[in-house]
Symmetry: C2
Subunit: 223 residues, 2 copies
DNA sequence: GTACATTTCAAACAGTTGTTTGAAATGGGG
DNA sequence: CCCCATTTCAAACAACTGTTTGAAATGTAC
């Protein structure tokens, strides 16, 4: 079997299992079993499990990230600042295009992203900010321009709140789909979740700030 | 050593390690090592690691949940529906009161909650909805009353988005504190994060809905 | 078809995990 | 003090993990 065939079989098997069960709870024996490949093949072709995880993510990142950067650049080249909704909407097209790479591509990638941020804390964060930090900086800059009234610290926190929303939703998307289908007769797919997500994120990021005095009043209002 | 002393030492050691490294990445040998207790003590006193995890969470849940329910009941007994901000503000007081149970109680509990939802998917969700489902239903009812224009399905999704925000933020709160301190000279503690969280969540949950036509326009606006 | 490099394979490695065991120690009530 | 239940302890258990090994098979160029 040729080099690329084996590598591809491993990547395909691995990404499915990783998305289902997370990185920690997926063993190399499960992966090589599903890929119909010898156990040692992973270490031979990728070096280690960690490297395999990165390779699985890289297959999608190297498609999505340049598309995102290109769109960010287009917005940055404008004269007047973009609205927050415009900035967030940039993600939709590149993510949905992953379906062309592979039928379930969008769902798989977002689930993997969710797993990567929740399973082993820090690893994926460092990997992404190291390889694609410049792209993310452009995104942050666009958000800052669209919300000039917010301090940079406030934006930092709210963007991480938003990251949490996305990552958690995607990591548990399969369970949420099931619940939504059972309780609300929803035929939920990844595109419909994205559609629901954007207004939530836009409103949260651009929310008015309140000072601590107001918060204290709110907290005591129910006594 | 008396029964309760050993159990307490195990619980104290376990909750700290669980909060730091998550449930999967914390071994019983680490726990019994820190607790200065024999390895077999966990299985003798709690039965299994899974039961220990639940016991760790129960110590806080059985304090927080009755307090929450009591506040929800107070709001439900009102004549006019509460505002969303009022409903969300209910969480502040009971969570901060955990500091009286134990100095770092609030932070620990929220980190554990985050770990529980991100580490082993589903387990904690089932456990909480089984033991405290009625309390959560009252919360959902209050949110529905405060946002009459939103469909129940929309509220379902937005509450899970919010759960993701909280859970992810808390699970990685230590890392976020460090970044915030380094980049924005922020002295961030759990109370200040809650203060930042509430307006974000309130705005996100109450965000105006957009139809798919508008979304498509947004997505194509940058071409 | 021979020579050489690449790839596969079964087997074993060393490490960790949660759990169980049976004896030793400790506890308090009669 | 003795008895009996409770609790501790060191040791071993079986199952799993990612990784390495060295020989066998396959592929490729001459």
């Amino acid at each position: 079997m040729s080099r690329v065939q084996t590598q591809q079989k491993i990547l395909d098997a691995a990404e499915g299992l990783f998305a289902e069960s997370g990185f920690n709870d997926t063993s190399l024996r499960q992966i090589t079993g599903r890929a119909e490949v010898n156990l040692a093949a992973v270490n031979y072709h990728f070096g280690s499990k960690k490297a395999l995880i990165q390779a699985v993510l890289q297959r999608y990142l190297q498609v999505v990230m340049p598309r995102l950067e290109q769109q960010f650049d287009a917005l940055l080249a404008r004269q007047q600042p973009s609205t927050l909704s415009e900035v967030l909407a940039v993600f939709v097209q590149p993510l949905l295009e992953l379906k062309q790479v592979k039928p379930q591509g969008t769902t798989l990638f977002l689930q993997l992203l969710g797993r990567g941020y929740t399973d082993v804390q820090g690893h994926l964060r460092k990997f992404i900010s190291h390889h694609y930090g410049s792209v993310l900086n452009k995104f942050v800059l666009l958000v800052q321009q669209s919300c000039p009234s917010l301090s940079n610290a406030e934006i930092f926190w709210r963007l991480h709140f938003s990251l949490g929303t996305v990552v958690f939703t995607m990591a548990s998307s399969e369970a949420l789909f099931d619940i939504a289908a059972a309780d609300y007769r929803e035929q939920a797919d990844i595109a419909s979740v994205i559609r629901r997500l954007l207004p939530y994120l836009a409103a949260g990021i651009a929310a008015p700030t309140i000072d601590s005095k107001q918060l204290d009043l709110m907290a005591q209002a129910t006594f």
